[in-house]
Symmetry: C2
Subunit: 232 residues, 2 copies
């Protein structure tokens, strides 16, 4: 059989973590040709970027770009500022935003992804935000994603008869366990993914931060084995 049309393109934000790897697999399973984009924004967990590369290779994603943003000391987050310690997981009130929050991060990433999508002629952008097992970041909430979609269609040079941009957040209402089960069913190799905010140079996980907490519990709840090397 010869395919007479190219599959539609979709841009996928790929961080190297568990969520975005699952999203990339979901986008592929929905028939899209995936254009993955990662961001090097001075995060202390840079082994993530290596993980993103391996995940893209494993999933057979041929188009993968890493955009570098040099924030030039803008700082303000434990994830980009080595003067601020990454805290251990604690239970927090829902309105409490932790110090690992990077101001306007998802907004910036989506903006750059949108620019690339416009150039590629892709109309869908996939992002692995999740409003269930997460750290309470404002730019992970459903209303943020919805408003971004509205803005995306105003910000761009959309021509008549062009379909609107859609921001797809398939994990939005899933628990971490459901995400892991969905990804495992699609063949995602989670041993390639890194969740830890403060991993060692060889990709080992601290086992103590928010991200490790949700990951550990997710595998337990999913009833699947977790091959992550946790320091504790």
């Amino acid at each position: 059989m010869i395919l007479d049309t190219e599959p539609e393109k979709a841009v996928v934000l790929l961080s190297g973590g568990l969520d975005s790897a699952t999203v990339a697999a979901i986008a592929q399973s929905e028939g899209y040709q995936v254009y993955a984009v990662s961001f090097d924004y001075g995060q202390r967990h840079k082994v993530e970027l290596e993980a993103a590369k391996r995940i893209a290779e494993r999933l057979g994603i041929r188009h993968h770009k890493t955009i570098r943003i040099d924030l030039n000391g803008v700082g303000g987050s434990a994830l980009t500022d080595t003067m601020i310690d990454v805290p251990d997981f604690i239970e927090r009130a829902p309105a409490d935003v932790p110090i690992t929050y990077v101001p306007a991060r998802n907004l910036t990433f989506l903006s750059l992804a949108l620019g690339w999508a416009e150039i590629l002629g892709a109309r869908r952008i996939y992002i692995g935000v999740n409003a269930v097992d997460y750290s309470g970041y404002p730019d992970c909430r459903p209303e943020f994603i919805h408003e971004f979609e509205v803005l995306a269609n105003i910000a761009t040079a959309t021509k008549e008869n062009t379909p609107l941009f859609k921001i797809i957040a398939p994990l939005q209402y899933m628990t971490k366990a459901q995400i892991i089960q969905a990804g495992a069913a699609l063949g995602v190799d989670y041993s390639e993914t890194i969740s830890c905010y403060s991993p060692s140079a060889d990709g080992g996980a601290c086992g103590r931060c928010d991200a490790c907490h949700y990951r550990k519990q997710g595998f337990i709840d999913a009833g699947l084995s977790d091959t992550t090397r946790y320091a504790q």
Copy 2:
């Protein structure tokens, strides 16, 4: 007299062009402590960034950052891709977006400015967009600025009783001549600013692109002398 309160902070997008220099002077005249931000995004008119530095110095702006974004070949615009020629000015239909449009540029810049504002505790972001004498870019329109302001207040970790973010576009409905008159009245030295999309290495202007066209005409209409060195 001793001031017992610090002036409120405002983030100003400063490109090195005529419009943003005027906006920085307006923000200062309104009593704000200006935090200027420029973006090095691989634009071919990099002399702009040097101009931004000189403008900040002249205006006595003490806080000025340049954030570098390495788009890693995302391309797609005559302003970032040296394989695409910057076209001469032509009259266009309003719906026509020229090749000098950089997809999602103002959205990305505003997103990064918002992140910095959130860290600084600034609630105002000034941007020099203009919907009169401009090139028809979708991300210069009033509805784009309005929607971004809505999104900014959803995207961020706003605490109770914190004032909302405001996106201020003071040039929105001004002609180029009115902008030049306003800036001149505030003492802006326009000889430091660069408008040209394709300037020479020493900052000389081509005299043929859209940006040169609007600048030339603006000075003529304002009845002020233009010290720009146009190649033609």
